[in-house]
Amino acid sequence: MAFEIPNYFMADLGPEAEFTTQMVTEACLTLRRNGEHYLKTRDTAAIIRVLSLTAENWLEDDYPFRKIALGRGPLETGFAREVLQAGLDHFFGQLTGENLEDLLLQELGHLKRLDRPCAARCEAGANKESLATGPDLITHYAAGNVPVPAMMSMVLGLLVRSSQFVKCARGASFIPRLFAHSLYTTDAKLGSCLEIAEWKGGKEKHLEDVLHQHSECVTATGSDETLDAIRHRLPGRTRFLGYGHQVSFGYVTLEAMGGHQVKRLVRAAADDVIAWDQLGCLSPHVFYVENDGREQALRFAELLADELEKREKAVPRGEVSKRAAAEIASRRSMYEVRSAHMPDTVRHWCSEGNTDWTVVYENDPLFQLSCLNRFIYVKATPTLDDAFKGAEMVREHVSTVGLACAEDEKEELARRLARWGATRICPIGRMQKPPLTWRHDGRPLLGDLVRWTDWEL
């Protein structure tokens, strides 16, 4: 008999289930009670054990939750099996005991910081020790597109011993729900400190108000408007961590285009477009390619189109909605006309007979928001400064810059990108593969969640 997902979380009741304020109140009270009994009593090492063991299981081909995720995932999430597999394998591959310890050290300076008052070596001179404590209950508002941020929020919450209510966007609870079940299977007591539910954001204000009343901390991922709407409804004492939508782009220098590794570089760029079908905030909208009049950017675009075509069979894009397809079709026809009108400055390449992938080349460094789903712009730019000017309108919203350059250019470019506003710089090909310790939106991962207690000896 096929393995069935058990009924445990609210999201298991299906998308049509209706909830009452009483149900949400009871869920919050249960979460707090369970947290008191099963989370606050454990040490960090025990939590890390459960997390890393669960992650190891997820990497096994016959793990039931993995099989469900990859089997039903394409229908539930819209991502092809291969895309889901690559994304989940990266996430769970990162979730090791060693990496979790590194994260704690990076964030809190000491592995035992959440267990007892302690001091890192650099603090010893002050003759004090410190203990960090997480909120009793965190509510997460998880955005729709990609499941990894919701799972990462759950990991961080568990590390600081917080019970968590994860409110997923409509139709987006499938993978987070499986992750919660897998934790529950590894350790039912720890799993009982999680609740997963889904409803359309803002539509069930009375339920959300209950969550806000019971939570010390609320995190949310979404558009600036969504974040503002949530922030304004919170009680004054509730801590709010909002992660607005971000955009990312790649930058390729002349040096990188001049080397023998161009094909490898283009393959890496395709990895970034293909991962999560370009829907995550770490996915590139644009690749800027330095151009000195020798058509480097045009060549990059051509090669990228070839590569996306080649890869489509092995790692197909998921099915898209009619509206998303119409947006792609509409942009394509616009660029078709533009390229007929200005053949020297605009070119475009697209998959035949479907909307699977599109590459648009423009000899103009003005940043363009892509309609995503593997629709990528390649923009020629004379220099990094020109790219900065072109991307000025998204400057406040830039997350990752994927960088391809020569070894001796790296540090200078990284410094300039950081000063300009990028919060993450990584090699092209790894844009959607951040390490576990990546600071989301340039903010601390645990530092914003915990409350410190300093004890002067």
Binding site: H245, V337, A340, H341, L369, V394
Partner: protein, 358 residues
């Protein structure tokens, strides 16, 4: 000028053909032939069209069905000069609706293209509507206040056809450029009018009027035979009602039958209009026989089957002097005799779209 002469010649022929089209609509083969001929002539005036065809591997000296001829997205009217008319012969242009801060489509016209435009407009209008004895009333500003609105130009022609004066327009342009309705003036006329009324306006203007009537507790009993024509979407200018809701409120507010309400579908980028017909409780739009509709699948680019949603393309021969085939931003389904609108593409455009997509 030689290329333009060939466009003029086509325009004259089409002008004459439209006059007969009421009794003898253009057939499939005739339309196919005319469309290809017109495309060839337009491509000779506009190298962009020529290059588009070449890039698609079309050999224009062969027979190419009209469905395969490249359509130009309406967005392109905002940035390209899509006209076969030499600059010194251009006398006016129509702009798409929108605010002054955003780019708007510009459709150039000269004397001859306007003559053809009006022939197309009035031939199809008279075929569908009998309003000669009506009191014409419009919720839009008049043509002097909105000289570049194809909608207002069209309504002005309807006014002339009904033999009414310039006091028929009750729209005013507010300081921010938006269109508002002079409720007082309109309601005074509606209260006293004894002739059947032909009341036209945008959907959002009707919503404003109906809201105001509700606030004042007004219901009008328009004389029998009155007709209401609404057109266009909302674009954030009022609360949004479904067609059924809007028509339901219009029916009650003005005491008319549902079949007395007609929708118009048109745009500044086209020279022909579609009107909807209510048959068996279902509304479907129909263009005249010199304009044809193709619904293409966003995913495959091929024509969709009946009942399937596709992007609406209009091949309008009356666009003789600009570009014949236009790809709109509307989604629609094909019905037995026409099409039904099923929403619009996201308002997002590459240069202005929100970060929501991220």
């Amino acid at each position: 000028m030689e290329n333009f002469g060939r466009i003029q010649e086509f325009g004259e022929r089409l002008h004459a053909r439209m006059a007969r089209a009421g009794d003898e609509p253009l057939g499939d083969a005739e339309f196919d032939e005319l469309a290809l001929e017109l495309f060839r002539r337009q491509a000779a005036c506009m190298p962009t069209l020529e290059r588009l065809a070449v890039r698609r591997g079309l050999n224009l000296s062969n027979r190419v069905p009209w469905q395969q001829l490249p359509a130009i997205p309406t967005r392109m009217f905002k940035e390209l000069d899509l006209s076969c008319i030499p600059e010194h012969l251009r006398s006016t242009y129509f702009l798409s609706s929108g605010t002054t801060s955003e780019a708007r489509s510009r459709h150039w016209h000269g004397d001859e293209s306007m003559r053809l435009y009006e022939r197309s407009l009035m031939t199809w209008f008279h075929r569908n509507h009998r309003v000669e004895r009506h009191r014409f009333l419009s919720l839009t500003p008049d043509a002097s206040a909105a000289p570049n609105s194809s909608l207002v130009h069209m309504f002005d022609r309807f006014r002339l056809s009904a033999g009414c004066g310039l006091d028929s327009f009750f729209g005013r342009i507010a300081g921010d450029g938006s269109w508002q309705v002079d409720f007082e003036g309109l309601f005074n006329v509606l209260k006293l009018e004894t002739r059947p009324v032909f009341l036209v306006g945008t959907a959002f203007a009707f919503v404003h009027v109906l809201d105001e009537m509700k606030a004042r507790g007004l219901v009008f009993e328009l004389p029998a035979g009155s007709r209401l024509m609404e057109t266009g979407g909302y674009k954030g200018r009022s609360r949004v009602l479904t067609k059924e809701e809007l028509h339901g409120q219009m029916r009650i507010g003005f005491s008319v039958r549902l079949e007395d309400i007609v929708c118009e579908y048109g745009m500044s980028e086209l020279s022909s209009q579609a009107y909807d017909v209510l048959s068996g409780g279902v509304r479907e739009f129909r263009f005249p026989s010199w304009a044809r509709v193709l619904l293409v699948s966003p995913e495959t680019g091929r024509e969709v089957g009946e009942g399937e949603v596709g992007i609406l393309r209009v091949c309008d021969l009356a666009n003789t002097f600009s570009v014949m085939a236009v790809q709109t931003e509307d989604l629609a389904i094909r019905t037995c005799g026409g099409f039904q609108l099923k929403g619009r593409l996201a308002e997002a455009e590459p240069r202005g779209c929100s970060l929501m997509a991220a």
